[in-house]
Symmetry: C2
Subunit: 155 residues, 2 copies
């Protein structure tokens, strides 16, 4: 009794999770090379800089929540950036476990340069889409994020 001939219905290159992953990696890698080349920052360090510039005094845990990084990655990025002279850490007066993070003047300088650069890159990317398409994308990503959210029933 021969097996039914397997006609593959799965073409990896059309597989949504795969395509999303390739797309996202392409974009991330491209942008990361900017930060790295110009300022020697990794993508994680850039994320830490982005939120710390926006919220001086933020704690490591909060950075993790805002950037979707785990606490080890946050801790390492912070350590490196203190080394580089871009970040400063104080211990919270009301809670000795908590650290409060601030950009140093040098860090602030980089921040002021990097933000327009990041926005420019995003612009460049987004401008390949029409206004309408940008709104669509917004909407679709929201729906997919919901559907994939970890607190939904298992697939």
């Amino acid at each position: 009794m021969p097996d039914i001939e397997n006609v593959s219905l799965l073409r990896l290159r059309e597989f949504l999770p795969y395509r999303l992953s390739v797309l996202s990696n392409t974009i991330s890698t491209r942008i990361a090379s900017l930060y790295d080349r110009e300022f020697g920052l990794s993508i994680w360090q850039w994320r830490v800089m982005a939120v710390t510039g926006d919220r001086p005094g933020i704690s490591a845990t909060e950075i993790g929540q805002l950037t979707a990084m785990d606490k080890v990655a946050v801790s390492r990025a912070i350590a490196a950036m203190i080394q580089m002279g871009y970040l400063e850490r104080k211990t919270s007066e009301t809670d000795g476990r908590r650290s409060q993070l601030f950009l140093t003047p040098a860090g602030r300088d980089v921040y002021e340069l990097i933000v327009p650069m990041a926005l420019g890159a995003e612009q460049e990317l987004a401008s390949s889409l029409t206004e309408d398409e940008q709104k669509q994308l917004e909407h679709l990503m929201g729906k997919l994020a919901d559907a994939a959210s970890p607190d939904r029933p298992l697939w």
Copy 2:
């Protein structure tokens, strides 16, 4: 002369490359846990299986091209899957450098199980979108992929 107050224009959480990355990672991690839990396959191994099942006799280099993996990752995934008894390698008769890869019967068995599972997961994901939205997504990803393609002028 005080600095101009910096009103941050960058909200990381609204930053497109960041959002794409988080979304893609969420989905990948979720799916990877399926393959891993059920069959002990990593995401790379699953990709190798997907294309080898579809094109028996494929070479490592071709796998790399079809899966957007670099040759080291392909080599390692293949080695592991041969170990596991899922893959078989022959040396091409016409080119001694080239290997030809085939799923073993055991590998084929897993393939037959994993493909419907993968398609199911994608279904689940895609079904959070309407038909129309799915087409939009298709279209938007294509445009973004073009815009981010590495052989375009640097940002």
